[in-house]
Subunit: 343 residues, 2 copies
């Protein structure tokens, strides 16, 4: 089992998880309603933190609750944590072992918060710290770069948003239809490999997304950093235009994520502007052929709020293919271990 196997396993992992989620999440939603809780705090690091960024949008829009991303050090190091008794506090961690994430959930539970762990390790300290646990049951993840646990985390967060909020029957149906769409999202490895081999000189790039796909941009950039040593920097298109755009060098590489919906025009407009004015060489993960640049497609029939679960698949395949094209080993990223224990 290696990285590429784990990437290909994702439709099956998500399918297994979807069957269990409604039963696991109903007690969480019941606790939240009974306690009159109206706010969510998420503690996570690395890829899991990008699942948290997705949660800001999914739990905000579908769950209708505002989501804060925790500063774990307020709990673990400064020992002056905010009061979170009337808050749903989520810890998200593949290993369930990052001490700072565990300390947020432990501290929150001691204050009286409703706590939920989303982890691939049900025997971990994080699972022990939380009152409710979603065991992702994604199977062992051996590659250092997280793939299947990331999509499993996104799926759990999407189902939590639906359980907390006013999800329609249509939205529940779309969630159940995900595994089939994920199969199609993995469809064209040859096409992705061809684009990656044209991009084998990738050393540095900007990765743009907005709204739901800020998470996809962040996670794509992290895979490129971890696997291929690419200096990839992710931005919301709105934040990018507030300053960093000044540092875009003419002729350089641009990656972007684009999905049908209210944000499509923002991403299209900025990619077109950078291609036309600064000769950006674009590669776009998108549900329609982009106006500029090479196209890494994902299925267009996934609704926007769930599309980050599909869009990351071609992005992962691209990152793995660029790594190989650069002559590096995607199974052995330099200077990383699978579990990073930050306090």
């Amino acid at each position: 089992m290696g990285l590429t196997d784990e990437i290909r396993e994702q439709p099956a992992v998500v399918e297994r998880l979807l069957g269990r989620l409604p039963g696991l999440l109903r007690p969480v939603a019941d606790d939240v309603r009974r306690r009159g809780i109206e706010h969510v705090l998420i503690a996570a690091r690395g890829s899991s933190d990008h699942a948290g960024v997705y949660g800001v949008y999914a739990i905000g829009a579908v769950g209708r609750l505002p989501v804060a991303l925790a500063a774990p050090s307020l709990f673990s190091r400064y020992e002056r944590p905010p009061r979170v008794a009337r808050t749903l506090v989520l810890g998200i961690s593949q290993s369930g072992r990052s001490p700072d994430v565990v300390s947020v959930v432990e501290g929150a539970r001691a204050q009286g918060a409703v706590t939920l762990a989303i982890t691939n390790e049900p025997a971990s300290p994080l699972a022990a710290a939380a009152a409710h646990v979603v065991d992702l049951e994604a199977g062992p993840e051996q590659a250092v770069a997280a793939t299947k646990t990331y999509t499993a985390q996104l799926t759990a967060v999407a189902a939590l948003a639906a359980a907390l909020g006013d999800a329609t029957a249509e939205e529940w149906r779309a969630l159940r239809a995900l595994p089939e769409a994920l199969h199609r999202a993995l469809g064209d490895e040859e096409h992705i490999g061809a684009i990656a081999s044209e991009t084998a000189d990738l050393a540095e790039c900007v990765v743009l997304g907005r709204g739901y796909h800020l998470a996809t941009a962040l996670e794509w950039a992290l895979k490129l950093k971890e696997l291929a040593g690419v200096h990839a920097q992710a931005y919301s298109t709105a934040d990018y235009e507030h300053g960093p755009v000044a540092s875009f060098d003419p002729g350089s590489r641009l990656l972007a994520v684009r999905a049908r919906g209210p944000m499509a025009s923002d991403v299209d407009r900025l990619v077109t502007r950078l291609a036309d004015e600064r000769d950006a060489q674009a590669v776009v993960v998108a549900d329609e052929r982009p106006g500029r640049g090479a196209w890494l497609p994902f299925p267009a029939d996934v609704p926007e709020w769930l599309s980050p679960i599909a869009a990351i698949l071609p992005a992962q395949l691209f990152a793995a293919a660029v790594t190989v094209a650069k002559g590096m080993d995607p199974e052995r990223p330099r200077g990383l271990s699978k579990v990073t224990l930050t306090r």
Copy 2:
């Protein structure tokens, strides 16, 4: 008036503001207590968003309230905002004109939230949208890169944290002592210029901080991007170790921000590791001489929770000096305008 004048003006701007803040913020804290509000949401973009990141720590630790950074598009574009009636909602914007930030505050006020605008333009749409307004009165900011409005925003957020929370008499005294410390933080322009001229080849770098100084790292990186076109990427040291460290190239530049306190050892350890193992060429904004790299000092007698207001000053001077050393004009960053109107 240009960038360097505005940088030098900061002690006076902060001094004027500090005198007015207690009177402006008391009614906000009274509203929050009367309504039993226990959560804060901050909407901002660019440098103002970094003042929001500072707010996560200052309002979390000193104000004891958890802070969420808003996804403005949930209000402005998706039209499916979270419910925030029992939330203190802050909009932070120099110009008060960014439509997405205004829409968060407008939407929140319509829902019944307590709303506060922190802006340099009291006649702006943001100020009109909020029930409470802190007019920064920093005077016109003409340089495209924000400097004095950023430190004024930090000062307002620090005073808000103190007003909301359980700040001690000692903490209020430290706030009032800031202007004098800021004078000293600007002290050694010649030393900073000398380090900058040795760094005139700066094209790309990582900027590390943690805890309160994540905000400083983000803002320093943004100044380098805006002014000098440097591809500077800021990270929390904890997030950096969870993956991106794999992309640190031997011999490359490293910037870091370090202050006495629970996080000092984290920053010291990672700078030392990257200097020793990967020959990182470090420049460190710090309140003590760092073990590795060149030193940009700031006053050591400012307590950690207020130190981001002092530490950003040598970082701004360094960014301006590098810009000049690179033969670029700090008054005219490419592709930027003073007010960016994102929806």
